[in-house]
């Protein structure tokens, strides 16, 4: 697995139906082996009173009750539109989900890895995890921002807060991989969404309601 250099990234961006990062507002966004990503205009922040715990077992139990599961999902976060020129305050210890300004499309033979920019990390702003963007993905990238510092950070849409690097994938069965990817046509992400933490792990979760 080799990382793409600046020239390789640019060569991919110029090709039709290959890598897409759009728009890139300034040449300075292009690094030696990465592209800076800007904050988009939506902010999802966890509501302290919205949910007692994050418990995948509860998610599983409420899946049969459309009202309860939807209510829990919708009430977990508060959603804000933050137009350009406005700001959002991220308090110490808080988690904030924001989209990137850029639209990202990853071709079948690449993987994207999103990390914080070191200049912001020094101020305490971190991308909570290094986000892996799978091949075939298209849409905004959800950034999980956390303030590890001791004072609040004011975030403005349009700021460069993350970076994405690209790695070439090795494939033993390109046809099978392509067939798997093709199933996701028209699936794209426009806004940050809460994760589906129970999916696929049902057997490990208790079905008993807490006492």
């Amino acid at each position: 697995m080799a990382a793409l250099s600046r020239s390789s990234i640019l060569a991919r961006l110029k090709l039709a139906d290959n890598l897409v990062i759009s728009p890139i507002l300034a040449d300075s966004q292009l690094g030696d082996s990465s592209i800076d990503l800007r904050m988009g205009t939506v902010a999802l922040v966890a509501r302290a009173g919205g949910q007692p715990t994050v418990d995948p077992a509860i998610q599983l139990r409420t899946n049969n009750d459309a009202h309860a599961s939807t209510e829990r999902r919708e009430q977990k976060h508060e959603r804000f539109d933050v137009p350009f020129g406005h700001s959002f305050l991220l308090h110490p210890g808080s988690l904030l989900l924001v989209p990137t300004l850029e639209w990202v499309k990853i071709p079948a033979d690449l993987q994207g890895v999103v990390t914080a920019r070191s200049s912001w990390a020094r101020e305490g702003l971190n991308i909570a995890t290094a986000t892996i963007i799978n091949p075939g993905y298209q849409g905004i990238v959800t950034l999980e921002l956390a303030n590890f510092g001791e004072i609040p950070i004011k975030l403005y849409p349009g700021l460069r807060i993350a970076q994405i690097a690209f790695y070439e994938l090795r494939s033993d069965d390109p046809a099978a991989d392509k067939s798997h990817l093709d199933r996701s046509q028209f699936k794209m992400s426009f806004e940050p969404q809460a994760g589906k933490i129970a999916d696929g792990d049902e057997k490990f979760l208790s079905n008993q309601a807490p006492p």
Binding site: S7, L10, L13, K14, A16, D17, V20, S22, P23, I24, L25, A26, D27, Q29, L30, R38, G40, T41, R79, F80, D81, V82, P83, F84, H86, L101, E102, W103, K105, Q138, I140, P157, G158, F186, M188, F190
Partner: protein, 434 residues
């Protein structure tokens, strides 16, 4: 009178409480402060006027003003930015603020104060212009209403061009131009007078389905009392005028959104309403007007977008009613009316729709087909990123072209990609600004 006065003064206090409570809401734009100040100022002056009212008539008038203010405050309680598409509103406000201006003590061409809210219903696109400013020092308020369920359907939002027409028509600054350069050209031929229009409606040559519509109307409705008791001819005129305004502001996207919305609300496309002329008339003169303005221009046969643009216009032509009864204006009439309107809008950029080059569309439409928000961005041959200004109306047009030429592509995806593009284009425009 004392009881009424006491009640209204109490209502002023209630409204002040209500107004303060609106500060708890996140409007998400600088407008909330201006709105608060504007309403506070109006409330204070109304309270003084109610306290000083010397007779029941004056008190009743102030009571009406208080009622209007109460409605406004309650409406704006629902104007949270999360309820509508803010990128579209951002761009739409630029047009509304350019054309809906008045000369006030603050200076010439003071823009109206615009507020946006969302409401239920499919066809709740509205603009409520305030009838008059309460004082020379204050701005006229324009309240723009979006259907909440269609928040992301920015392609349909082009219909607001029509609603903006109502605001422009009520704008005292443009009244003379609109009368001299537009109204007189529309009010000719079939639309020369209520009698001429009624005669056309009841013409023996009217299509059978239209005669059927008249047959189902109350028996007391006749040709000679149609515009006396059952329909408002001046309201019909205003609707026609506003259709043409919408076209000159939003271009082909307006025709497409009007075709889609009007036929969705009236699938039979027959008949008329008390305040609205026959749907089929409206679609016919819009299609004719788009041709007159050259909006339907096609690139050469070999152009990569030729088939897509053909598909768009061919789809719109399916909304045309072929019976000559449905074409109520001559091309010459429309040409003069549209020319007058363009002359006026030209003076208030960016009001008039800028016709895109085929190169512009050739850049945007393929992006959308590849499921990328269509914006003014490309990687140049030298490898550097290049950004350029793109009018949001061109993004909408590229959306409609894609919708017509790519039937397999889900409509909500096209709309969301266009909405995302308008947001991204705002960022591009900021980055290009000096």
């Amino acid at each position: 009178m004392a009881i009424a006065q006491e009640f209204l003064l109490q209502e002023c206090e209630n409204l002040r409480d209500l107004l303060n409570k609106t500060l708890r809401y996140e409007y998400g734009s600088a407008d909330s402060r201006i709105f608060y100040d504007e309403c506070s100022e109006r409330l204070a002056s109304l309270e003084a006027a109610i306290g000083a009212a010397a007779d029941p008539a004056a008190l009743g008038q102030e009571g009406n003003h208080l009622n209007q203010l109460a409605n406004l405050i309650c409406r704006l309680e629902r104007s949270s930015i999360s309820e509508h598409s803010w990128p579209f509103v951002h761009e739409f406000k630029r047009i509304a603020s350019a054309i809906c201006t008045e000369d006030t003590l603050a200076g010439p061409n003071t823009p109206n104060q615009i507020y946006v809210l969302a409401d239920g219903g499919l066809d709740t696109y509205r603009i409520h212009p305030e009838d008059r400013r309460p004082a020379y020092t204050q701005k006229r308020l324009l309240t723009i209403v979006f259907p909440k369920s269609l928040k992301h359907f920015v392609l349909l939002h082009s219909i607001l061009g029509h609603e903006l027409g109502h605001a422009i028509w009520r704008c005292s600054k443009h009244k003379r131009d609109m009368r001299d350069q537009v109204e007189k050209h529309i009010k000719e031929g079939v639309f020369a007078s209520p009698d001429e229009t009624a005669a056309h409606i009841y013409s023996p040559t009217a299509p059978l389905n239209e005669k059927g519509f008249l047959g189902a109307c109350p028996a007391s409705m006749k040709q000679d009392n149609l515009f006396l008791n059952y329909a408002n001819w001046e309201a019909w005129f205003e609707e026609i005028l506003c259709d043409l305004v919408g076209l000159v502001i939003f271009g082909p996207s307006f025709v497409a959104s009007e075709c889609e919305l009007l036929t969705s609300m009236n699938p039979a496309m027959t008949g008329f309403g008390p305040g609205h002329p026959p749907t089929a008339w409206r679609l016919n003169y819009l299609l004719d007007s788009a041709k007159i303005l050259g909006y339907d221009a096609r690139p050469p046969d070999t152009h990569p977008l030729r088939a897509d643009i053909d598909a768009f216009w061919a789809h719109l032509e399916t909304f045309r009613s072929t019976d000559p009864w449905y074409s109520i204006f001559t091309d010459e009439q429309l040409r003069r009316a549209l020319g007058g309107m363009k002359n006026l809008f030209n003076r208030y950029p960016p009001t008039e729709y800028p016709v895109p080059t085929f190169e512009r569309l050739e850049h945007l439409v393929p992006m959308l087909k590849r499921q990328i928000p269509p914006v003014g961005f490309r990687i140049a041959n030298d490898g550097s990123p290049k950004c350029e200004n793109v009018d949001f109306r061109h993004i909408l047009f590229s959306g409609w072209i894609t919708k017509a030429s790519q039937p397999a592509m889900p409509v909500d995806i096209i709309n969301k990609l266009c909405e995302q593009a308008i947001m991204q284009q705002i960022a591009i425009n900021i980055s290009l600004s000096p």
